[in-house]
Symmetry: C2
Subunit: 348 residues, 2 copies
């Protein structure tokens, strides 16, 4: 049965690497939070949560309430980035305010983090709305534990990265001013994901209270700027597929849907139990894709399996999805997050 | 919260349509079985299983033991197409034999179906191995309830479709001969999925005992031959996304990762809670993708959301994935099967 192997040492190595890079350039109080959203970027939420908790992570970010309830016993602070709670929820789950209707939807005493748009122009409130939102949050009796943003230029050399950082600095200033004015405890501030954190740490030092480490912890950092981290990261997930059946075929015989691959010579061929129904991208005649050991995944792959010229009982589909991402014209994150949660996960 | 709406009437309409087409051209005893594998082609296994059971489906095909245990109380016969059981299993779950090692892995009394390669050259045993496999199955005390194949040319005009059917006719003959020779009850025979069943019913009438209806029941039949069914099928799944936040932006402002979209005029823009982390394909600057109402999904979409020029509280991402499949250079099946099981499903 196909299996995703999760290398816990790699995950911890990556966190150590990022932590020591950030720590040596920033205030020692910058907290490393783990981003576990979207089934831990496709790796497996419960599995990665257990590794992160073991490492000592205290704050995590998940997609929504459903993900939060799965991990809220493992961490002191869990933030659900999107959506409102469905039913009861634990006290240590915070919900994110993007809109006034979120304030009215939450019961008194709920922990919240306020998302502010610092220039990505995607989610969150406008900086000009800070006072109005914070007044409403306080009036509703919600506990404002964080104010944050997301820098959408973290991977690029674009100067908009720095404009966004400057905007966030102004947002912090304004929130601290409001905190004094209305007498609430200053919330934690965060604006940086892995790439942004690496970059700001190297350039000016991080002044936020927390950084949100997602993709870097999983071993990927596909950025367009030079940095001392990318090459040292270790990939956490590798995917293995098991043989379904093996046969010997003659020259000229055709394989798979529409007989898409025709044999140019006699071959031993086997099918393996990963297909696009497992969230692995569909290999068609327009892709040239290989396993870790260089075996071509023959087009077209099926919903539940693919074929290769070999008869090994188990093959490694990938230890690194970077080449797959290129072959499918996308980014590593998409290849990883699409992997079906129904594939078995094993932590080593 | 994003939601997949499942139209139970559409599913039943499709089964009625296929059933009446097959019935009027074939033996009245051809059983319609439902293929529910891969989370019911991404629709939601438990939800589609409940609709199929209500319709009166008796036999279903699922991916593996994990899927089988979720639906085995709803149907008299459940076949797990891949893999062996992990632990105990209900008596009505059959496992598929592709290899001798599967025979030795199963306990005495287990129901099995034998997959035979009739020309797709993908899974199953070779026809020449029939006697050897059946002898071993009988010797192990397994109950052979089915012998089947899969025609990999169902969607094409390729003459290999008919060669495959001829091969399966010979396989049936051989199995019936062995059934007399070794004194076991003739198993059920099946070789056709939706497209093959529609085609054979029109052309020569179906002589198999059962047809496996997968994609057609979900409303899709993307085949290269004319048929009276495709245009009448109704799509079962539609995807809705809810607004996260809304803002007004000026001409020249940039949106999303790397500021990929630049505004040519002032616009109201909102984000919606579906992204590639939900299994929806990632919209980049290389794709032009629209919602059901013709709103462009602006590049680049994020892991958890996308942006559109509008401020509706909820928008329909798709009612039909055919255009999306074209935009992403793939087939409808892949768009559907990748949809994350964590998206809420609602049956109407």
């Amino acid at each position: 049965m196909a299996e995703i192997i999760l290398d816990s040492k790699a995950y911890k190595h990556n966190l150590n690497l990022i932590s020591s890079h950030i720590g040596s350039h920033s205030s020692p109080n910058v907290e490393l939070a783990a981003v576990l959203k979207d089934n831990a970027y496709g790796h497996g939420l419960n599995e990665i949560a257990s590794i992160a908790a073991e490492y000592g992570i205290k704050s995590v970010f998940v997609k929504n309430h459903n993900e939060a309830i799965q991990v809220c016993e493992l961490f002191p602070q869990v933030t659900a980035l999107y959506g409102m709670p469905q039913g009861d929820f634990a006290k240590n789950i915070a919900f994110v305010i993007h809109d006034k209707e979120h304030i009215s939807a939450l019961p008194k005493g709920t922990k919240v983090e306020l998302k502010v748009n610092a220039g990505m122009n995607r989610n969150g409130i406008q900086p000009s709305e800070l006072q109005s939102f914070i007044k409403d949050i306080l009036q509703k009796g919600l506990e404002l534990i964080g104010v944050f943003s997301h820098n959408g230029y973290g991977d690029d050399l674009d100067s908009a990265f720095f404009d966004t950082q400057s905007n966030f600095a102004l947002i912090k200033q304004e929130v601290l001013h409001l905190s004094q004015k209305y007498g609430f405890a200053p919330p934690r501030f965060h604006s940086l994901s892995t790439s942004g954190a690496i970059r700001v740490a190297s350039e000016s030092g991080i002044t936020d209270d927390l950084v949100r480490i997602g993709i870097g912890a999983y071993g990927y950092l596909d950025v367009s700027f030079k940095n001392p981290i990318s090459a040292k990261l270790q990939k956490v997930a590798s995917l293995y597929a098991d043989r379904v059946s093996t046969r010997f075929l003659h020259k000229g015989e055709r394989i798979g849907y529409s007989g898409c691959t025709t044999l140019e010579s006699p071959q031993v061929i086997s099918t393996y139990d990963i297909g696009y129904g497992d969230g692995f991208f569909r290999v068609s005649e327009h892709h040239k894709v290989h396993t870790t050991n260089g075996l071509q995944i023959l087009p077209r792959s099926s919903m539940d399996c693919f074929s290769c010229f070999c008869d090994e009982p188990r093959i490694c589909v990938f230890k690194d999805v970077s080449e797959l991402a290129k072959a499918f014209g996308t980014i590593s994150y998409e290849i990883l997050t699409h992997l079906s949660p129904s594939i078995k996960r094993t932590i080593i």
